[in-house]
Amino acid sequence: MRAMPSILVVDDEADLLEQITLILEADDYRVFTASNGLEALKILHTEQVHLIIADIAMPDMNGYQLYTRVRENLEWVTIPFIFLSARTMDSDIRFGKEMGVDDYLTKPIRVADLLAAVRGKLRRSQQLADSLTQLKQSQGSGARFLTAGELQIDLDQHKVTWQDREIKLSAREFTLLAYLARQAGKVVSPTELIQVTHQLETDPIEAGTLLRPLILSVRRKLDLAEGEVGSIENVRGVGYRLVIPA
């Protein structure tokens, strides 16, 4: 988690802004406040904001309008956005959620509920950023293929080819190869691999035992020479890696 994330709170009720600020600051967040959507946009242009909590009914620019503006801007689109509103009718909540808002909280808000939503959305935001980083690293500029030499892995079609020859892999074998290819060249531990292929959290010995037949099977199907680009190499005592061009 980032050090001291900053939260933008938008509400036209001064008392409520003060209360929310106190709650968030006590939980170690940096807080910016705005009394309507227009003020909020100004802050977004100048400050780094990790999460937005906004009322809906506000003068000048309401919460729906602010939400739309935030989502239209690519720089802000990943910022989690929570409505905190006195509009508690089913239809209001449904409308807000249908827009795609990350959460919809109703006033009066309990401290525990507010903090749970804030912590959860910041955690999710970090998870998404981590996943994206990993996928981007592996996919380069948005390509849908992973490659290592002549080895090509089509993630969408679950298809592996070597020099245009298709190699039939089981779902688990494909998961293993794709995971190694995403981090091609890097050694991945058996415990990490087994979490991905078998969804098991286990010790290194059991992980190694479970993994070996799978590795052997993929190697047999790939039929590559030891150390050849695209082959799976065992780094004794550490794990496995997909060999990349030197």
Partner: protein, 134 residues
């Protein structure tokens, strides 16, 4: 032909699975069902999934465990995950939300509310995917 991404519904109560399936069918969402977390993971390994609706209390692998497994796999990191559960205590809701789940719905859930939430989460997932492509 590449299969269309589906919504994965995970619940150990057959009646609940049927009700949720019906709501999704009426709204024209392709969907698959699993009766616990382990079955859900098997489906995730082989089928493209665009959103997960999961109960919490289930045998073999519960909803919290399933959520954790899904989030640990970068391939599944962007899939919206929603708890649909009978766990209604405030502490349970707070716990679920703090995990980072995309939404937390308490049973019984009205069909129109469920569909609104799904639409919103899919819209949000598209926005994030678009941003990731930039």
């Amino acid at each position: 032909m590449k299969p269309q991404p589906a919504i994965l519904v995970v619940d150990d109560e057959p009646d609940m699975l049927e009700n949720l399936s019906l709501a999704l069918q009426v709204a024209d969402y392709p969907h698959l069902t699993a009766k616990d977390g382990l079955e859900a993971l098997e489906i995730l390994q082989t089928q493209p999934i665009q959103l997960i609706l999961s109960d919490i209390v289930m045998p073999r692998m519960n909803g919290y465990q399933l959520y954790q497994q899904v989030r640990e796999n970068p391939l599944w990191g962007a899939i919206p995950f929603i708890f649909v559960t009978g766990c209604w205590l405030n502490s349970e809701i707070c716990y679920g939300k703090e995990l980072g789940v995309d939404d937390y719905l308490v049973k019984p859930v009205k069909a129109n509310y469920l569909i609104a939430v799904i639409q919103g989460k899919l819209r949000r997932a598209q926005q994030l995917a678009k941003a990731a492509d930039q």
